[in-house]
Amino acid sequence: MKNKSLVTITDFSKEEYLRILEVAAEFEANSYQNLLNGQVVGVLFFEPSTRTRLSFESAINRLGGRVIGFTDSATSSVTKGETLNDTIRVVTNYCELIVMRHPLEGSVRYASEIANVPVINAGDGSNQHPTQTLLDLYSIQKTQGKLNDLNIFLVGDLKYGRTVHSLLMALSEFNATFYFISPDELRMPDEYKMYLEELGLKYYESTELDDNMKNADIIYMTRVQKERFSDPIEYERTKNAYVLKNHMLEGTRDNMRVLHPLPRVNEIHTSVDSNPKAYYFQQTENGVYVRQAIIALMLGLK
């Protein structure tokens, strides 16, 4: 992984995912390790974010590194009309690694071709967010004790949700069985279903969260956004069908955990938060260890 950029989850192999998870566990046991020893990391956020940026900055600080960058393109020379090409050519001279989020899709792949340091994609529009996928994998392994042969429920917006697509790609390496629960308008796109069929992996589709939940090892919730519906009446009719409430978790497996990439709006009722099966807040903590692992491996420090 040394000096390799991480733009899309498929840039890394199954062996590389497993290595990242192994190193993430080392950081969970001992998070403060001065491996960067003052080395500088460029954190370029061309659009605002809370969790992802703070999690990366926490990871860099725990590794003893220093952060330069901006948190919004309004505070960079982008407002003067500077191209991404020029910004990256300059910043690449100031740091050992670039972490970047940008509203345009494909922008981080482009940056990785210009920069002469490795680039980590922290989200490029609706396209990819691979460190989220790796922290999801870590959370699944940690709560289930394994990654193989799990029943994975993906719930909500399966059409536009980038996190569910990347997670599907990653888990397809581990013989998962998928349950796709979504409104008709937001079903999993055919290309992903065809991909699973080619691999001989099983999947089931449903428009309702019901008794089938009893088989779940992981329930991965996502936001159903109003603007994704062509018909507002259809949205009003379906929105409540995808809200997870505490009583619905009765009878589910003991090992089952509820994950969510956050931010949550109303798709998980707050009554679920105190249920031991709710895991979405611990999931964010795992993000720091996983990002520490990715940075350390990409810079050849582990």
């Binding site: 991404l84 345009l104 899709e105 494909g106 922008s107 792949r109 482009y110 609706s126 990819q128």
Partner: protein
Amino acid sequence: MKNNKLEVSAIKDGTVIDHIPADSLFKVVSILRLDHLQGMITFGTNLPSKKHGKKGIIKLSDVYFQDKDINRISLVAPEAKLNVIRDYQVVEKKDVEVPDDIYSIVKCDNPSCITNHEAVPTRFLVINRKKLKLRCHYCEKITDKEHMVIL
């Protein structure tokens, strides 16, 4: 008037690109950058064709193409035929093939793709040759035949 038929004279050495759909003729000219050539070129368009109704034809003296260059026109003229001419004789006939990668020819259909906002040469992987589905190397979205715009 001796003859009411349009005569397109034969060439001695060079390449004839035949069976170009008439409405793609100028796209082929642009993709192959024929407007930059110095040699003799004859264009014909809206000529009767059994296959296309109307076809275009281009005759280029002393010009020969590499396969990778000529395959660039496959997106707009998939049934084009190349005749390589030496001393007035057709010495080779070639079909065009859709290449694996498409560079700087097609515009990405995704308005939020970086290639539509900055001077980034477009690049696609052909994921379905028959239906002409292209996946953008940058934004990873699909541009298909129906939405294809030639740059």
